[in-house]
Symmetry: C2
Subunit: 213 residues, 2 copies
Amino acid sequence: MKTLRVPEATVTRLSIYSRYLERLDRNGVSSVSSGEIADGVGVSPAQVRKDLAYFGEFGTRGVGYNVKDLMRYTLKILGLDRHWNLILVGAGNLGYALCTYRGFNMRGFSIVGVFDNDLTKIGKRINDLEVLPMESMPEIVKDHNVRIGIIATPTRAAQEVADYMIKCGMQAILNFAPLPLNLPEHVEVRNVDLSVKLEILTFNLGFKSAQNV
Amino acid sequence: MKTLRVPEATVTRLSIYSRYLERLDRNGVSSVSSGEIADGVGVSPAQVRKDLAYFGEFGTRGVGYNVKDLMRYTLKILGLDRHWNLILVGAGNLGYALCTYRGFNMRGFSIVGVFDNDLTKIGKRINDLEVLPMESMPEIVKDHNVRIGIIATPTRAAQEVADYMIKCGMQAILNFAPLPLNLPEHVEVRNVDLSVKLEILTFNLGFKSAQNV
DNA sequence: TAGCTAATGTTATTTACTTCACATAATATA
DNA sequence: TATATTATGTGAAGTAAATAACATTAGCTA
Ligand SMILES: NC(=O)c1ccc[n+]([C@@H]2O[C@H](COP(=O)([O-])OP(=O)(O)OC[C@H]3O[C@@H](n4cnc5c(N)ncnc54)[C@H](O)[C@@H]3O)[C@@H](O)[C@H]2O)c1
Ligand SMILES: NC(=O)c1ccc[n+]([C@@H]2O[C@H](COP(=O)([O-])OP(=O)(O)OC[C@H]3O[C@@H](n4cnc5c(N)ncnc54)[C@H](O)[C@@H]3O)[C@@H](O)[C@H]2O)c1
């Protein structure tokens, strides 16, 4: 095993492997090969082994991998052997969906603070969370040791909200606004851009039709 | 100009360029250089020119690009010089957010059918759309010439829903359920996986801490 | 109109990622 | 215990993508 820069594509796949392993585990499967994982998630067996090789040797030659063990290893690699508290800004439609989504909890995430600047939204409840004014952010962050923030505000507010989050101590941001954020190097940002994904589909549909002509 | 296989990363960036160009256009900017686009969206100028070069020559040497023209070209390349009707299955929290999202309309997308299998949801209204039973899908698809479907159902229903969508004639699927779908070659699928993005953040936070030790 | 500047389009280079191929090791079998 | 089988881990080969470098062309200036 050598430790080099890990491609982001590898991290993405690890996340997918780990969820697939959880599913196998729930179904009582105890052992699995790279080929089976590959089939299950739609990549090549060599890719699975290469991805894992960045982090160590987890299998047994001639046998395969122990599902429970590999599941734990992948979760550990992803930093999911602990609990993560999150905050979210923008209690709109998407914010509401994210707050009520149980899939995050299942991976060890909890949204511990929801913030908005609209007085008609502040004080409202989403599950057991009360929507708070932006001024409460520092306190919540401190109390719950929050390092990751989610932006679900309109595009025009996103940059300003991101700047404020960083002032409040956020080290990583998941941004749903379709706008490239301008942030200091040391802050990790990832965008979730739904329109882009749709447009990849339309591009491909158009491209295919063109090929058929 | 040569026509080769276009990297998906290029298509992704084109989508982002085109939105950035729309913004410039709204702000009354009429001319732009690859360097300015690059700064605006966070890539290198060479990357911008390389991406465009897959599709033709759109600029003027020594001058740059005409914003309106390049915007139209990029939209055309992405297949957005026309209107796209979509259907969505799963009128839950995420489905509701997607149906009410105005950003899709602004790019030429309309959701023309929302389907669910929960009797308590069927008949309810989301904006001007009524939630329909699954049986209505073929009719809606035919009437509105729909080629793209969105899956916003729980994970366990996603594969079955995808299969049904394809039977109804869908050629492309945007899948929000965190599960790799097993579908015929000719159907374009893209997954939007929010947990994966979060887990890239936790991976990077953990990795950084490790480096600091 | 000649010379200068700016910024594209494109080829060359470098870097990154994936696939291939096989030596290695564990287990099963005779 | 030898042999066959299976599937990992990994270096080498191949492919793809990003970056760099530069030749080309448009417009500006004197
Ligand atoms: N809804 C979707 O399906 C969807 C899809 C793709 C992208 N997005 C993006 O996600 C973001 C949210 O979308 P939405 O549909 O939930 O919007 P929304 O309008 O329903 O909600 C936005 C919320 O942000 C709050 N807000 C506005 N400015 C703020 C500020 N400065 N500080 C704090 N809060 C502020 C508003 O009060 C509102 O509650 C948008 O950027 C949108 O482009 C949404
Ligand atoms: N809500 C989020 O923020 C979020 C985040 C990430 C991923 N997701 C994923 O998106 C999907 C939807 O999430 P949600 O929170 O909106 O769930 P939800 O439970 O609120 O909604 C799901 C809807 O699908 C319907 N449904 C179930 N089975 C169906 C079937 N066989 N045919 C037709 N309709 C069916 C249900 O009746 C329900 O209305 C899930 O796969 C979830 O994992 C959601």
